[in-house]
Symmetry: C2
Subunit: 354 residues, 2 copies
């Protein structure tokens, strides 16, 4: 990214030589992203982050049926759920499919939910809190049978699961570069060629009219490189992180009485979501933070107060206030896992005593 941040940086939408050079760099980044998704360059819209990709998808892919019906799931990221609330305010009717106690959407329930006026189905590829992987291919095929647009939020899945849009059979797919080691400030919305999309941000016609604003060339390059590296290293990283995650989960289950894992396989390899009976996740998170262990109750949220997890609540199998998320990454080590295995059981016993 640095050459495009440090050098003289021209507007990729200017027609002069310098502008055309910036555009060539931008379009090469777009091509690289498209290749990773098995998509065409014109199907890639650069946006600011995963939330904007989700907002643009729910707004833009449903617009051909104003006031129509949208189907989603109860465990979506807040970027989808809050966007759908906004769509409701605009007159859309929204059905949130439930999940079973393991964290999965039932394809039969989707089939049952579809209506003549259903404009869009949006179901996440993998959940960001408990890691469960939805049967996207099957769900997308059902929507396709009814000629209904199918979008998936793949923000949590990217870097861990294959993201070929044709294999998944989706019409829209959201990504965020920072979740796969890329920069913050750049997200991607894939939109299948021919799908009508109405923009949220209008202006100078950038991104084929789908998202106005002077293009962030450096961030687009960062996103492309991050996606490429993530894909190259994906299988080996999954194996490595899965071994660490299993060590962590099995260790915690063995050492902490009355503990349980939220969500069942198939799951992402990098997330361990556990409940320790009687222990509020928020309290435990604050205590572990003091020990140098960074964990999250629910999703990252700016209020400074973590509410109960809507995802674990949807499972219906435990107290949503007790669910704590441990995220592992490419740089996590066995030593770190063992440190967590040493600290957490002690802190939980201590909290249970008091």
């Amino acid at each position: 990214m640095l050459p495009y941040l440090e050098g003289p940086v021209f507007n990729a939408s200017s027609l002069h030589q310098e502008g055309r050079r910036a555009r060539a760099v931008l379009e090469e980044a777009r091509e690289r992203v498209a290749r990773l998704l098995g998509a065409q360059r014109k199907e890639i819209v650069f946006v600011a982050n995963g939330s904007e990709a989700d907002a643009l998808a729910t707004f833009g892919l449903s617009a051909k049926r104003p006031g129509g019906h949208i189907v989603s799931s109860a465990i979506e990221h807040l970027a989808i759920l809050a966007s759908l609330e906004a769509r409701k305010d605009e007159g859309y009717d929204v059905t949130l499919l439930p999940v079973d106690g393991h964290g999965f959407v039932d394809p039969g329930a989707l089939r049952f939910a579809l209506r003549d006026d259903t404009a869009l189905v949006t179901i996440m590829y993998a959940n960001n809190e408990i890691g469960t992987i939805q049967p996207i291919r099957e769900l997308a095929a059902i929507a396709r049978q009814h000629s209904i647009a199918f979008h998936t939020d793949a923000v949590a899945a990217a870097g861990w699961l294959p993201i070929s849009v044709d294999e998944l059979g989706v019409d829209g797919l959201s990504l965020a570069a920072h979740k796969i080691g890329g920069p913050k400030g750049i997200g991607i919305l894939y939109v299948r060629d021919g799908m009508p999309l109405v923009p949220l941000v209008h202006g100078g016609g950038q991104e084929r009219g789908m998202r106005a604003g002077t293009e962030d060339v450096a961030a687009a390059v960062g996103a492309a490189v991050a996606l490429e590296l993530a894909e190259q290293e994906r299988v080996s990283r999954c194996e490595r992180v899965l071994a660490l995650r299993n060590r962590l989960e099995l260790g915690l289950l063995a050492k902490v009485p009355l503990s349980r894992v939220n969500g069942s396989e198939p799951r992402l390899p990098n997330i361990a979501n556990l409940s320790f009976s009687g222990i509020k996740a928020e309290v435990l998170a604050v205590r572990l933070d003091l020990e140098g262990i960074a964990v999250s109750p629910g999703s990252a949220c700016t209020s400074g107060i973590a509410g109960p997890s809507h995802v674990v609540e949807a499972l219906g199998t435990g107290n949503p206030r007790e669910a704590l998320r441990f995220s592992l990454g490419t740089q996590s080590t066995e030593e770190e896992v063992d440190f967590v295995l040493q600290v957490v059981p002690n802190v939980v016993s201590e909290l249970r005593r008091t």
Copy 2:
């Protein structure tokens, strides 16, 4: 920005130590931006670019009167004009005030245009194509007398004009960091405390609920530093660039017969918009590009085809296809200006001969 791009980068909305540190950096950047505007920290919303700031302003500040009336001007940036088209589709009624032959909005015309159902007035501080500076203080006072929200697109003005929101008397103000030497990918919307704003992108509650998405800490820091430097150097830069701009304009007017400047004082010091009678700006731009001179017919636009300038068209004083924009910057030199003064008259004569 580099420490926040290169180091381990945490989510500013996570509650653990690392997240809180990222948040502290973000909020310090917000405080620095607020100080520059004479605003409060909570009045600053970070977005992706000037177009998103404008889109959020037209959408979010008019939403308290759904289907109401919005007043703007005929020479706004496409980010405003295209957003207003979208608002029309949502049922709003839009009045575009004309400008006089010098490029100015008449405050009397604004007073006359206001209606009982006017929800928002949005008029740009300075024009990006011809540089004319609108009497924002006077225009904003008229809106305020009628308790109507007043927004200004200050993207072209920043770095050249004072941007104290209280002195201007505005309720909303858009900025783009890359226009003042900051990074691409970050814009700012100031919204006066107490003004209801409805978000475009919903999700995890970031930016006080006004714009969801994981915060781009590095870009926010870049925006803050760019604004600070721009303000520190503003007066001296204006003097220097104005001298160069005058050298350029007076030189071209003297050396090229049948040439004219579009827009009158008060203007931004960095823009020279000229028409050379009988010469299409697009043709001239392509020829000058071959000589290493980067100029723009109309605004930067992605279509690859520059249309006639809607700004010069609104002046009503010349052919909007003939208006060519020369932009100067802090790094422009007298030698560059003299090179332009040497090349342009020859190219214009040559084009006129053929």
